[in-house]
């Protein structure tokens, strides 16, 4: 009998073990985040840190003419990336979901494998493809569409947009695939039996049912894109300035950690808002089902 009630017994006799389980996450996740939040309320001037709490960093963000426009521009850019990846990812997910048997999972795996390939290398390779001597320009020259290599694809926001889109497509395919896969085939058959054309079935049955996955995909990609500072740093050049780069520069060249922390808190708020919106809209639609 006593053995059967082992659960409460272990729970009380394992307090040290419980403490050990909590120790690492608290010491290296919770406390750093708390320190980081606290830092955003400090102030530094000419290398001297003031630990008195102040809102000056946030005030600077909202009053300086540079930062708000860059944040808005970055949000627009990342939304564009999200929509482009979904635009490219939806047909792929649809095709994969329409396959039968093992091949769909093998292809899905192949779609995801590039995610584990070196991020820096992919950025670098895409930059060389987009560049003056790159494959894209050579293809355009060969097709006779242009007379001399174009430079509009590197070292500006277009380059950041294209690069991020190529890098993040798999993140859009996966959630859309998962939501398409869950739609029972009988629903499509029923729709066809009731006289709906293929287009009508898609527009009125498949598309609404796959909307939660699509929204998840948008959120995923947006969050990943807005947090990235490597891609804009590498392909953005002088004009391709993004919010992530500004944050990174506060910890490097500008060396203003409290201000950098405040900017990151704002980034975190944007990310949380995006995730919350994604969850709300994703859930509402599936509730209609």
């Amino acid at each position: 009998m006593s053995r059967r009630r082992f659960k409460p017994a272990t729970a009380s006799s394992h307090w040290p073990a419980t403490g050990a389980v909590f120790a690492f996450p608290i010491a290296f996740i919770l406390l750093p985040l708390a320190a980081f939040l606290a830092y955003s309320f400090f102030w530094t001037e000419q290398g001297v840190m003031s630990y008195a709490l102040t809102l000056r960093n946030y005030a600077r963000f909202f009053t300086d003419p540079v930062f708000l426009p860059v944040l808005r521009q970055t949000c627009v850019l990342c939304l564009e990336v999200a929509f482009l990846t979904v635009l490219a990812g939806y047909p792929v997910a649809y095709f994969l979901a329409s396959l039968r048997g093992r091949i769909r999972y093998i292809l899905l795996m192949l779609m995801l494998v590039p995610l584990l390939m070196s991020y820096v290398i992919k950025i670098y390779a895409i930059r060389s493809i987009l560049g003056g001597h790159g494959a894209l320009n050579r293809a355009l020259l060969w097709l006779g569409l242009i007379d001399e290599p174009l430079t509009v694809f590197v070292f500006n926001l277009n380059a950041v947009l294209l690069t991020l889109t190529v890098l993040l497509i798999p993140f859009a395919v996966l959630p859309i695939f998962l939501s398409l896969e869950r739609i029972p085939r009988s629903l499509m058959d029923a729709s066809a039996d009731l006289g709906a054309s293929a287009t009508q079935t898609f527009m009125r049955v498949i598309l609404p049912l796959s909307l939660p996955g699509t929204i998840t995909a948008l959120t995923f990609v947006f969050v990943l894109a807005i947090g990235d500072f490597l891609t804009p740093q590498m392909v953005g050049g002088q004009s391709g300035f993004t919010f992530g780069r500004i944050i990174y520069s506060q910890f490097g060249t500008a060396f203003n950690w409290p201000f950098g922390a405040a900017l990151s808190v704002i980034l975190a708020v944007v990310v949380i808002a995006a995730i919350a919106l994604g969850t709300i809209f994703g859930r509402d639609r599936s509730a209609l089902k």
Binding site: P25, I26, L33, F95, S118, I169, A198, V271
Partner: protein, 264 residues
């Protein structure tokens, strides 16, 4: 029917195009690593393995490779131990504390890596913890913990509760139950999660850039090399790294896939 199949051909073609888009940036550097370079332009008429010879004598890269291995293996071991402990704890009952622990573990996975990296950077400075490979290991453990924890928890929850109960009824201690009943059932999940965690750690750049001192891992070394300018051995290094990563992907798939397909 004909219109349907035409639509399918279009979708298949489009999928192929996306695959080319995804794999192009991986194959271009590999292909060009076997050819000579002149002023940053690949000469496709001149095959050579010179880049690989230069690579093998590049001190900085070899050190970076060693650092990457140290960090990867340490982060995998730490995250497996912590992930296992957390998953066992979470699975042993229900409480607010458990939900909180899970939330904390998931935080670095939800937040952009730049925030995790900056938080650790500030924290290490405030507690006077010098930046070194140790801080990189901690950063990577924080980053991969959620994935390892989640993988182990899913497997743990798929095991029948009666297994553990039977073990206790037969007089096994808590440790014996873990060692002889749970652990054998979790091995493949641990290997899969470990390989995946290693692959993530192997490629982690943003957090590493922020929390490392003077030590370089391969991605940060690459990052520095590419920013300074072009050297031919980069392509060779790329090929080597991609070969290693592919191997890891295959391993991860081998240990994670079969169970998943029979499980669901």
């Amino acid at each position: 029917m004909t219109r349907d199949s035409r639509g399918n051909w279009f979708l298949a073609g489009f999928t192929l195009l996306v695959f080319i888009l995804l794999y192009g940036p991986i194959f271009v550097p590999i292909a060009s690593s076997f050819f000579a370079l002149k002023q940053g332009v690949v000469n496709w008429q001149q095959p050579t393995t010179l880049a690989y010879v230069t690579l093998a004598s590049n001190e900085g890269i070899l050190v970076a490779l060693r650092n990457t291995m140290i960090v990867g293996v340490s982060a995998v071991v730490c995250s497996l131990i912590l992930g296992m402990a957390s998953a066992l704890y979470f699975n042993s009952g229900r409480s607010k504390g458990r939900a909180l622990l899970q939330f904390i573990i998931f935080l670095p996975f939800l937040m952009p890596p730049i925030i995790t990296g900056l938080a650790l950077l500030i924290y290490f400075r405030e507690i006077d913890f010098d930046r070194s490979l140790v801080t990189v290991i901690i950063g990577h453990t924080v980053f991969v913990l959620a994935l390892v924890y989640r993988t182990l928890l899913v497997r743990l929850q798929s095991l029948s509760r009666s297994l553990v109960e039977a073990s206790y009824d037969l007089g096994a201690s808590g440790f014996q139950t873990f060692r002889y009943v749970l652990l054998p059932n979790l091995t493949s999940a641990m290997i899969g999660a470990g390989v995946l965690a290693f692959a993530l750690s192997f490629d982690e750049t943003m957090i590493t850039l922020l929390v490392t001192g003077t030590d370089n891992t391969l991605p940060t070394r690459l990052w520095a090399m590419m920013r300074l300018g072009f050297t031919p051995d980069i392509n060779a290094l790329v090929a080597v790294i991609l070969a290693l990563t592919t191997l890891m992907c295959l391993l991860a798939a081998r240990y994670l896939m079969p169970r998943e397909s029979t499980g669901t």
